[in-house]
């Protein structure tokens, strides 16, 4: 049996190294290629939070919140099998 191939392409989640322009605007509401970091930051650390005994099932995520807020750059370590989305041509 052959071992499954490791995913070698990792999404670039550290500070991007784009330097040609100071500002890069990416339209993302309709069809987007936001980095996984951006999606993680918005989806895991923002949004309506409901709390109380009636809420179940969020405990597992708390650890991720902590790490994301602490480092905000290494979601590829939190999510080891993350694959980058294909960019729009």
């Amino acid at each position: 049996m052959t071992a499954p191939k490791r995913v070698s392409r990792r999404p670039s989640l550290a500070a991007p190294s784009r330097s040609r322009r100071d500002v890069v605007v990416r339209p993302v509401l309709e069809d987007y290629d936001a980095s996984l970091l951006d999606v993680v930051d918005h989806v895991l650390t923002k949004g309506v939070v409901v709390s109380g005994d009636l809420v179940i099932g969020v405990a597992q995520v708390d650890l991720v919140y902590l790490r994301v807020s602490a480092i905000l750059c290494a979601a590829d370590r939190i999510l080891p099998y993350a694959r980058p989305r294909k960019k729009r041509s």
Partner: protein, 216 residues
Amino acid sequence: VTLYLFAIVRRRPRAPLGSGIARRPLSAVLAGGARVIVEPAPAPVPTATTIRGHDRVVRRIARTASAVLPFRFGSVVADRAALRSLLDPLEEAIARALAEVDGCVQMTMRVYGERARAPRAPSLGKGPGARWLAARLAASRAPEIEPIVSETAPFVRRLRVERHDRGPLIASVYVLVPRAAVRGFRAALARGARGLSRVRVETTGPWPAYAFAELP
């Protein structure tokens, strides 16, 4: 079966809701004087796929409703009754939050580079309370991108700054922009960016208003 929560909207969207992360049909539950878009499913394990899936569903909802308050990833309640007892007491806050984001999208700016020196606190006094206030004030500002903040101000309904103490990312700046003003915002952003020094700004968006979806 538990309910996984995606977003709060004012009324049931007219377009079909489609399915959620677990590929089960979404429905709109009346709670807190609004409708909550839910999927009959457990909380998904947080992976790149499910996190993107949450965002994708919220975006789909945002295309059919002018005011959307996304839930944070992983929010699950036991049933409809639990959802109502959670949100019914927050009815006024929900209405206010929906009114604020109505017709708007969020643009997110990441500011990389050199931190500006902390500005001297204006005459707030010298006590611990004044120092705390001054620190709060400094933390809520992004002097590094002042040219952008002032250029884009006419297109921004609300601005929220989160400063980061360490690393090359010095601040995340979230702005609420009316959908019709996105083009104007972008042009103003480009103008403001010409006045930047020692920092670089990366902007993404439009996003659903994640950073403005907070209930007290």
